[in-house]
Amino acid sequence: MRRVLLGACLVLAAAPAAAQPVRWTDRGYVIVDGAARITSASFAGVARPITFVEPAEVDTSYRVRQAPALDVAAGGRVWRNLAVGADVSFFTRGTTAAVDAKVPHPFVFGRPRSVSGAASGLDHTETTLNIQARWVMPPTRTRRWQIDLFGGPSLFVVGQDVVRDVTITEIYPYDSATFAGATLDHRSRTHAGFHVGTDVTRLVARRVALGVSVSASHARVDLATADGGSVSLNAGGVQVGLALRFIIPRKVPAARPPIRRRP
């Protein structure tokens, strides 16, 4: 997050030092951003499923690694260089989890067996609706280059496969067990957060610009588990990408028809 803010500051600093900013005159924009989430996220959860009439303890450490993301944003100018719009972001990643569990003994209370293992192929999805204020800064009057700063509130829809229980292999007398797999629950939750970012684009055609984007988003999401517990995770992260901007030009007033004088 700090890196993003720093980047934004650098972009601002790089803006022309001219006293009079260049006016942005487009009517609006559509941006398609093919990005990569460059940060990974780790979080943990505890499940206590009842096993052999006694609660087990399943500690799971999840890790969501870097992966591609897709953003589509659209908006329109509302005042001077300020635009308001919306952005939809989609991110999905198979996650891995390290599982440490204490599984009760079938015959006696208070004598759990410890098992450990890894669960893979856990789905993690984030669909984010970003309400966006965007400050657009063409650094030169040619408007060939454009620097945007944006940010605003976000609505995260986060889905995550959480480990509900473990499956074990055990043989009589059941004093020990080995990890065989994890039983998963898919949990989802909608939660508010925020996002900030910047684009730097350059016109490559009359109404098309190409550039780079850096953005960051964040929300703290608690996913309820089946046994009444919860898994807390940090949704969002830092992503960089290639931005393809489609310009919606301002309306040019229709030319008045020439007045004809009567002969």
Binding site: F52, V53, E54, L70, V72, V88, S89, F90, H105, P106, F107, V108, F109, A119, S120, G121, L122, D123, T125, T127, V157, D161, T167, T169, Y172, P173, Y174, D175, A180, G181, A182, T183, L184, H186, A224, A226, G228
Partner: protein
């Protein structure tokens, strides 16, 4: 945005499905193996695509237990983010690719995914429809395929008075679409409380909407029966006239067991099986996982006041193992009902399954019946050994599971301590047998009567070999192996019982067998061998080479009827034990003294007279074969004197014509109580 992407993937997926076996609408089964290579590749690809589109989601991945290197995954099908009940796939994967795919996939599911009912309303509707309470905190929105098509439904659970029910409730109308019991027929674990209010796990199975005390998790089937006081039926079953029925198995409606007698019997029988396996690697009572039938509630507690003394003695105040019971003649154990506090002097006797050492004691009889035997004749040293081994492994089992202590549910060296309130009324002390009225030395044996009585001579040796100490009677010191090494002595005695001893074993033979077992297991000169040898020396059990005689010590006042109405009188037991040689009794004599040591009278006679008097543990004969005993119960009076003493002497000829003379110590006859 995500919706657009999903639609896109779904359309791709449906396009690919169009060319496959599951192209038609509705549920379609998948059953593909490597036999059909091209079909396998196509289906495998489609499954992968459905995973990417999240129409299939991994529920579980597991390593294959039987085929190394393989793993398999279970995948659930989703329709627009909602799980389809019964739509799932298993895929077996080897290092070189997919091996098989089996499952049911639904296509063209034509139901929406927006419920009209809220989850909370659905939970309430489920509970209301089944007159129960919702179970768990959540209900799951699912797509349910029924014969009339697809329904958007909530899936939840409701507990009723008798079972746990799975419910599918229409998410639009609130109608129950489907309900079914959550009970299965697999081995289950229930919970219950024992006689002392302790929580126990109980291994059961479910059948016909109830739970049965029928252990499916151990290699041996342990079944606990509840005879509900039907003694006639119990006897028919024990006698093999009728086999036990499923209806005889103890049952509970919700697997939370409230009958502590059944809970204790069933759980402790399982623990005993575990003890044998963990301590000795033994598979059950016969070493081959023989089934273990356990019978409880042979009589009703409330009927004790009208029961005959025989019934009270057998089915209320007793537990027993029967080596040849049931129709297969492989044996069973029965636990008496105990008696209420008001029955006898304010003493409450718990059900005989209430004490772990008692349950283990009875089951050890079954082990003995399947190994050394030791039950050819209970009124012999072998009979006493049978009880001794049961006490030893009863106590050892308790020490295996419970912390040492004196309170209920703790382990100690007093067998049966927890059967009564107050505790210890019906018990035998292994650490100090005299304390419970039992002998601690071989010279105090009383062969020919209750075989439990003499067992403490042997079990006290077991105690000394572990804990060490100075013997109260012989004053000999034993250096025990220490409680941390109790397993050594347990293994030595177990090896002797199950491997080395014959059915007609004597105490002396048991001495030899345990010493050999200690050498076998821990080497000659080991601490275990030393401790056991010293322990046998301390309790007076030596190689039985010479003949010996024992007189029941310090007899209390007997019944007048035994001595022709003279009061007081004393009932006494005499045991004459032959050594290596066969003997023929030629003469015996009893001398009686008053309190000042003056001789009052004497009696006795020749060999014929001996034969007439000594018939308590064998045939009435003047001959005593080597390694056997002749026993008598005699009645003594001192012509009205209230205290005095007595002494007996015997003369015999051995096979070589040599005369042997034996005299008992002079025994004090205490004033009657």
């Amino acid at each position: 945005m995500s919706l657009l992407i999903r639609c896109g993937m779904l359309s791709v997926c449906l396009a690919c499905l169009g060319a496959t076996a599951f192209a038609q609408g509705g549920p379609r089964t998948l059953s593909v193996t490597r036999e059909g290579q091209s079909e396998m590749r196509a289906v495998d690809l489609q499954v992968d695509q459905m995973i990417r589109s999240r129409d299939l989601r991994v529920r579980e991945t597991r390593q294959d237990e039987l085929v190394p290197g393989r793993h398999y995954e279970r995948l659930d099908q989703y329709h627009r983010g909602v799980r389809i009940v019964g739509g799932d796939v298993t895929r077996q994967i080897a290092p070189d690719g997919t091996v098989s795919v089996f499952g049911v996939i639904h296509t063209n599911v034509d139901t929406g995914v927006t419920p009209r009912l809220s989850p909370a309303a659905a939970r309430a509707a489920m509970a209301n429809a089944l007159a129960g309470a919702p179970l768990g905190d959540d209900v799951e929105l699912v797509v349910l395929a029924l014969s009339d098509g697809y329904h958007l439904a909530y899936r939840g659970q409701v507990t009723t008075a008798t079972e746990i029910v799975n419910v599918h409730l229409d998410a639009t109308t609130g109608d129950v679409l489907q309900q079914f019991s959550d009970f299965s027929y697999d081995g289950l674990i229930g919970a219950g409380k024992g006689a002392y209010g302790d929580d126990k796990k109980i291994s059961t199975r479910a059948a016909s909407g109830t739970f049965l005390a029928d252990d499916q998790l151990r290699p041996s089937t342990i079944t606990t029966y509840d005879m509900r006081g039907n003694l006639t039926r119990l006897n028919a079953i024990l006698n093999g006239l009728t086999p036990p029925a499923v209806a005889d198995i103890a049952s509970d409606a919700d697997n939370t067991w409230t009958d502590s007698t059944v809970v204790d019997a069933h759980v402790y029988a399982g623990w005993y099986y575990d003890y044998l396996f963990k301590r000795f690697g033994r598979h059950g009572i016969d070493g081959r996982d023989l089934r273990i039938p356990v019978f409880t509630h042979p009589v009703r507690l409330e009927d004790v006041f009208g029961a005959s003394s025989a019934v009270v003695g057998t089915y209320y105040l007793n537990a027993f193992s029967c080596g040849s019971c049931l129709s297969d003649r492989r044996g069973a154990v029965v636990f008496g009902e105990g008696v209420p506090k008001g029955y006898y002097q304010g003493i409450e006797v718990k059900p005989f399954s209430a004490s772990l050492d008692v349950v283990a004691h009875e089951l050890t009889h079954s082990v003995t019946a399947n190994t050394a035997g030791l039950n050819g004749f209970p009124y012999s040293e072998a009979g006493a050994l049978n009880e001794a081994f049961s006490d030893i492994f009863g106590i050892a089992t308790a020490f295996f599971y419970e912390p040492q202590g004196t309170a209920p549910l703790t382990a100690g060296y007093t067998q049966g301590r927890d059967l009564t309130v107050p505790s210890g009324i019906f018990s035998r002390s292994l650490s100090n047998p005299i304390q419970t009225g039992d002998p601690d030395h071989y010279t105090q044996r009383l062969i020919g009567f209750d075989s439990h009585y003499n067992s403490t001579i042997v079990s006290h040796a077991f105690y000394l070999a572990i804990e060490g100490g100075t013997h109260r009677t012989s004053r000999q010191t034993v250096q025990g192996v220490g409680s941390a090494n109790r397993d050594q002595i347990e293994k030595v005695f177990f090896r002797a019982l199950t491997v080395l001893l014959p059915s007609s074993a004597t105490f002396a033979l048991t001495r030899a067998a345990t010493i050999q077992a200690a050498r076998d297991l821990y080497g000659t000169g080991s601490a275990a061998e030393r401790a056991i040898t010293q322990a046998w020396d301390a309790v007076g059990v030596q190689p039985r080479t010479a003949a010996t005689v024992a007189l029941m010590p310090n007899p209390a006042a007997g019944t007048s009827a035994l001595c022709g109405g003279v009061r007081p009188s004393w009932s006494m037991g005499i045991t004459f034990s032959a050594g290596d040689a066969n003997l023929r009794i030629t003469n015996w004599r009893g001398d009686y003294y008053d309190g000042d040591g003056r001789q009052l009278t004497s009696d006795g006679g020749d060999g014929a007279n001996f034969a007439a008097s000594f018939g308590a543990c064998g045939p009435r004969s003047d001959r005593i074969l080597a390694q056997t005993d002749a026993c008598a119960a005699i009645c003594v009076n001192l012509e009205g004197a209230t205290r005095g003493s007595t002494q007996f002497s015997f003369s015999a000829l051995d096979d070589s014509g040599r005369t042997i003379t034996l005299t008992t110590p002079r025994v004090t006859l205490l004033a009657p109580r």
